[in-house]
Assembly symmetry: C2
Homo-oligomer: 195 residues x 2
DNA sequence: GTTCTATTTGAACGATTGTTCAGATACGGT
DNA sequence: ACCGTATCTGAACAATCGTTCAAATAGAAC
């Protein structure tokens, strides 16, 4: 029978992923060794293989879980009455969600090239799904004449790129509150899609 | 006496940097070995050390030369009469310059963490200088009441982030011409900083 | 054609890589 | 108290890493 108490299995697994997350984010997947991860957990390198078949799967799982969480949280947003409102909600959600998980976000787009082709394709599907949500909002706003957008596909990517920029500089202890940042970005996004 | 003809020195050096550039961009600095670079040049790994003291210097030189080129080209732009015109020029310049050098650009901001502290600090100075040029434009436009910006520092980073997004999707053989892309982005940037 | 030297080779270095696995360990169930 | 097994250790594997260097090579100068 599987142990239900006292087992290290339920503890070591998450700790390994947490350590890998931090190390991958800080030094990059290729620059981090399994021994470094093990060292951070306080375990020998061999023990990691009770929790992951290999290093690649460790990276993939981190990215996959992150994308799943992102899409789930996005789906949990309340319905809105107008595209403008939906866009505002999206901007706020994107900023807050991503600032809460800087390591996951960093990895999710810096380490794409270190995924195998199959794993990459799987992540790409999820990423595309997220982008499509935004593009749908922009299209609906365009149809309802709330927005004035030359190319919704480009606008989608431009907005996301702009919002992602926040992670390169935002620090909790900085001069701006999260609400202020959200307000400033919403202003810029709103104007960039309005006539 | 130094050889002036037939010497491989003047040829091998640039070829090494070109090979390293492509490989670093595609696979990442940490994932590329000196032997891979040498192989692409058609030379043994030991020969690389006639042209670079070590792998780190190879990366640093690529990034440093790129930043120097960027700042030089930026400085060569003609003077403008208004901040709006200056911003338009900046947007066009940024898009064109970066799309011409996808590998350099990719490395310049993906491999920052693989620089030693000293090398990182040196690149950071150049990057900051580039950003300051944009922020100055935004400030002047703000003072002249051409722009309406809540926070010029954030706006600077947001605009650059947005423009950088173009490199993740633009392909020469795609449906949009460079001029069209430039126009679309200029539209979005202009509106995002206007009242 | 000989000399000189810039350039490259090819082997070697110690260190580190991801991964495997037999044996030690420690805990839950009985 | 003993058993069974989930978990971990610690050593080993072959491969590869960045770097060094004596020896080989090849082109320029005379």
């Amino acid at each position: 029978m599987a142990r239900t108490q006292g087992s290290h299995s339920d503890i070591t697994g998450p700790r390994i992923r947490k350590a890998a997350l931090g190390l991958f984010a800080r030094h990059g997947y290729a620059a981090v060794s399994m021994r470094q991860i093990a060292g951070e957990v306080g375990v020998q390198a061999g023990a990691l293989y009770n929790y992951t078949p290999d290093k690649q799967s460790l990276l993939f799982r981190l990215m996959h879980e992150h994308m799943q969480d992102l899409l789930t949280a996005l789906g949990d947003l309340p319905a809105t009455e107008s595209a403008t409102e939906a866009l505002k909600q999206f901007v706020g959600f994107h900023i807050r969600f991503h600032l809460q998980r800087p390591d996951e976000v960093f990895i999710a787009y810096m380490e794409l090239r270190n995924l195998t082709r199959e794993n990459f394709a799987e992540i790409e599907v999820l990423r595309r799904r997220y982008e499509d949500t935004l593009e749908t909002i922009l299209k609906e706003g365009q149809d309802a004449r709330q927005f004035s957008i030359a190319d919704t596909k480009i606008a989608t990517l431009a907005v996301i790129a702009m919002l992602n920029g926040v992670m390169t500089w935002y620090r909790t202890e900085g001069r701006l509150t999260l609400d202020a940042v959200e307000g400033i970005y919403w202003d810029m996004v709103r104007r960039s899609v309005s006539g």
